[in-house]
Symmetry: C2
Subunit: 438 residues, 2 copies
């Protein structure tokens, strides 16, 4: 099975764990059998591989998420990087071209496209295989998943199938309705449209060539910023007559707010935290090193990260966005392809950061124009390169780098260092990257 996972933009609804650079799908909230925690992305990938060990997984996403994906999934997935945001049709066309031209997948093969962040069980991925198999048959050009509704939601579009069969033709689509109208749809046998569908690669390639003047993946990628914003629904789905839907009745949750998210948590406390015995329906998600003590609370979620602390009534938590939008804040923590960093201290003319490099990885070879830096290695072994000079380093070694000096560090084992940045104008944009000639 080929799967394209659409990994959407940043979100603040799960602040302080999600922010401008960390989307909710990368937060590690779900306990695995081994007792570790995994993110939605990791959970979905693990579930896909369990259902189909040979599945080819491609994540269609923005550049800003590449580091986090590589950090959490390594090199096991393909990434179709959208150079800029251009709605779902260009994104899916690009991912389709990527599969054929970069991954070498036969255009006769089918692919399933689905969001990266549904909270589901393995039966969902079995259902995805069903969609893919149905697309293989060629009876229809598009095969959609129709989720059996559990309540008359106003949040989803609806699909009216031609029959109540497991696989049926699509009679019509309905936009997000009011609850009353939704109830009427459901009485007619309507299904939720979860934005999941399968098609043969050649089908979407053909549609893409009809709508966009391009030769291959590289060409499409190069002119991506010139493309018109248009949704896949509008460009393809609504115009297609040979279109089917397959029913899915398993668990399917959209964990978009703290309220819905905490319902999916197995434990009341993740991280360091204590609830006294008078607490009821309280959840703590703590990414800080210090304990949270909750006493006498009801229906409250508490979450702390290096970016801030949320204490909210669960119902109220869905109104978080305008408050968080007002916080002017620099990124205090980020996962990168090579490891992660955390801001420890911010002063007017200095910033202190803890950098953790994963074994075998290194940051880009780079320089800064407006700041000096000092590295103090606190654990691990590796090699620094400063203006072309390579040097072995381990705990206790100090490296000073003047503004303009090119530098990087390779981690031979996991390597941690304290980086002190010094200058009158410290900002993330002050970075020039170089190829390392060694």
């Amino acid at each position: 099975m080929n799967i394209v996972l659409l990994s959407g933009g940043s979100g603040k609804r799960l602040w302080p764990l999600s922010n401008d650079i960390r989307s909710k799908q990368f937060i590690k909230l779900f306990k695995t059998e081994t007792g570790d925690y995994e993110s939605m992305v990791q959970r979905v990938y693990r579930q896909i591989k369990k259902v189909d060990a040979d599945a080819t997984v491609t994540i269609a996403t923005a550049k800003t998420q590449v580091s986090a994906i590589r950090n959490q999934l390594g090199d096991s997935v393909g990434i179709s990087v959208e150079p800029c945001r251009r709605d779902t049709f260009p994104a899916i066309a690009l991912a389709t071209a990527y599969l054929v031209d970069v991954q070498g997948v036969d255009p006769e093969e089918s692919v399933v496209v689905c969001p990266v962040d549904p909270y589901v069980n393995e039966d969902y991925f079995e259902a995805l295989k069903g969609l893919s198999d149905q697309a293989d048959k060629g009876e229809a050009n598009l095969v959609l998943m129709g989720i059996e509704p559990t309540y008359p939601s106003e949040k989803y579009g609806y699909i009216i199938p031609g029959s109540a069969d497991q696989t049926a033709s699509v009679k019509t689509f309905k936009e997000k309705p009011t609850a009353d109208v939704a109830a009427q749809y459901i009485a007619q046998g309507a299904l939720w449209n979860g934005g999941v569908f399968a098609y043969k690669l050649k089908y979407v390639l053909k549609r893409a060539h009809e709508l966009i003047d391009f030769t291959d993946y590289q060409d499409l990628f190069a002119k991506y910023d010139t493309l018109t914003k248009i949704s896949f629904d509008y460009a393809v789905v609504e115009k297609e007559e040979k279109i089917q839907v397959q029913r899915f009745a398993g668990q399917w949750m959209d964990l978009g707010t703290w309220n819905t998210l905490t319902e999916a948590m197995e434990e009341h406390v993740i991280g360091k935290g204590v609830l006294n015995d008078v607490c009821e329906n309280v959840h703590i998600v703590n990414e800080m090193d210090v304990p949270i003590l909750a006493m006498g609370l009801h229906d409250v979620v508490i979450s702390a990260s290096p970016e801030g602390i949320l204490v909210s009534d669960k119902e109220q938590s869905s109104y978080i966005k305008p408050y968080v939008d007002k916080f002017v804040q620099q990124t205090m923590f980020a996962e990168k392809s090579w490891g992660s960093f955390r801001v420890l201290d911010v002063e007017e003319r200095s910033m202190t950061i803890k950098v953790t490099l994963n074994p075998g990885h290194s940051m880009n070879y780079h320089s800064h124009q407006y700041r000096d830096e000092v590295w103090v290695v606190i654990s691990g072994e590796g090699r620094t390169v400063v203006d072309g000079m390579e040097q072995k380093v381990s705990a206790g070694d100090v490296i000073t780098m003047q503004a303009g000096c090119r530098h990087t560090v390779f981690a031979d084992t996991e390597l941690k260092l304290i980086e002190v940045q010094l200058g009158q104008n410290i900002h993330v944009g002050d970075k020039k990257k170089y190829e390392l000639e060694l």
Copy 2:
């Protein structure tokens, strides 16, 4: 007026702001006219000086609080340091000897003794002057403050005065009663015993010499650990027949729990914090650099410091102690006589600290046996001394110190540095102090 302020032990009832080394009286929670915040100690000292600019203030306290007092009050107060805890009679005897032998106060003069942490207005300190003036008269050996009760509290002892006059003889003392009994006392005209009293220095010196074999302050200090634990009430007050009480009817609050403390706060938010409009009776006290967002809460206190985060129903907050006792935690922040430090990062074999030195101050000249240290100066100017070698330093300078090496830093201006400690066995006890021979 001579005043001895009894500065009590560490407390965890106001965790995470108070802890093993920071007592509640040093937390800066009270807004001044200039918009800054002051601690209870600073507030009380400022109030005393306003009422009596010539007052001699002495703080009787444990060694562990000396740094915080010097940090917050400078050298303007005398400190009678108790070498160990020996209850109130030895402490008051030591402070009395300190006034006479160290500060050179005439033994014929009176002194007022009171706790360091009442939340009161200036009329309270006017009343202290009244006690002192009354003691000067010599009608009685002890003059107590009797606080007019506002409700039948079970938390205080009661004084039954001989009359309803402003100054009266003491008929008898009553232990902390039940609420019913307290109501009966109050009907009889009883007053709260707030532990405030005045006496002539020579009086307590005489009692001290009767009970303890010592020559002077130095001698008493030297044998302090051999003294019997005995309260001033038991050793002196209850045995004294020439004893009076003066009524006090002004505001007098004991801010011992988050519930009572937040009542005395002028604002709902201290530090970075936002309450949404559905919050009612919510207080935020945030010592962290990141924002706290509170949504849809009622009657809750939220407090965050580098030691942890408390989110508690206000009533429940009085039950905090057993939970906090279970947290095994190192000190993450401390005020020292020379400035302050904050722990930024703790790893198995390293610890990273931010050190702030006040202008004109320096830490002790010291060495560590089991750890190396690296300093990166991030702002200010000063001079380091490393193994006797003095060197000017400013932002960007890096100083490396091997285990065993003696070092200190003087701050010519406010000076901040990042200290990285490296070693297999990092603990606060690994410190050897030296006289600096320069």
